[in-house]
Subunit: 202 residues, 2 copies
């Protein structure tokens, strides 16, 4: 709301209103510190405030605490989830599988692999990670359910298992660089088609 | 060889010969230091020697350097690869998929997730990781090729892609604890059957 009001008040002012700029500076400072090697655990609101050039109170006015801020900042790395077109289940899955492990922000390449140990170590960070991926999982789950309902997929498909089959190959390739010879670019389409058709001779 | 000779020379002596005990102490010290949070990069031959109670020369007599020692030590975490029985391709795949991300040493739970950032950061450590998993990949590749040759699997199966389909779901579940509701114990069988049969209605 303050955003729209400010813009209406000062239409020629360059940049965005002060509060949005502060929010962005805080998120950017968080991501910069993580990309420079800070662990989630070691990262402090003090350090973020200092880096962003704001007071701690400015951060606490906008976020309830470090985890809420981390969730916004880490969510930003991934960008907006792709929106399935809702026609072909196969094409929608290719779209969603292509987004698995994909990040719009180059800092993600430094940050995301480093989260793995912390997600394993801390129940709070595990929950944070689950919360970040939840909206994307929901999209994939909906497409798979649609496929079962429409008869394109087998009626007995286990949706959660199917999500693991579709997500696993992309995630190990993009987070672990699992196999040097698999081509990330064409992998989503090939994974979806192979998972749909199966390997068994008929 | 020295092992067998010593045992013949002194059949009543408790424990194993000195050289084997030193080797074990060195490998154990390496794994203990990694499990306590040392990175691969920070780990030094000095620290390992001190922890194992041996001189640096003892380590260099047995290993060419840190990477060779790390490879032996990390390889130890996983234990001996399972041996496919060679009858049913499906059963052999269940056996091998069950070993993906499985470790016999409890220190692996602390060490393996922590390798992810380093494997991403360093080409040497990436190569080390590839070398550790290579023998297991070879076993799976051979079972899949056998399935294609026998006609159990489609003639046009892409072997490397098929390995990613089988490995990915287990690895994300065991290394990233990807989905809290999937049961690790029954996952290998379910992954193999789903990948073989495919999701598409027929």
């Amino acid at each position: 709301m303050s955003d729209m009001t400010s813009m209406a008040d000062a239409p020629r002012s360059p940049g965005r209103p002060r509060s949005v700029r502060a929010d962005e500076a805080i998120v950017e400072a968080t991501l910069d510190l993580l990309a420079e090697g800070s662990t989630l655990e070691a990262l402090s609101i003090e350090a973020i405030a200092a880096r962003a050039g704001v007071g701690k109170a400015t951060i606490y006015r906008r976020w309830s605490g470090k985890d809420a801020l981390l969730m916004d900042a880490l969510g930003r790395l991934k960008g907006v989830p792709p929106q399935p077109a809702g026609r072909s289940v196969r094409d929608d899955l290719v779209l969603l599988v292509g987004a698995v492990g994909h990040n719009v922000d180059p800092r993600a390449a430094k940050i995301m692999p480093c989260l793995v140990p912390e997600v394993n170590r801390s129940p709070d960070h595990f929950q944070l990670y689950q919360n970040i991926v939840a909206p994307r999982r929901k999209l994939m789950r909906e497409v798979l359910r649609r496929g079962v309902d429409s008869g394109e997929l087998r009626a007995d498909v286990d949706i959660e298992l199917a999500m693991a089959l579709l997500t696993g190959p992309m995630l190990i390739q993009r987070v672990l660089r699992w196999h040097p010879e698999l081509d990330d670019q064409i992998l989503p389409e090939r994974v979806v088609d192979a998972v749909l058709e199966g390997l068994r001779a008929r």
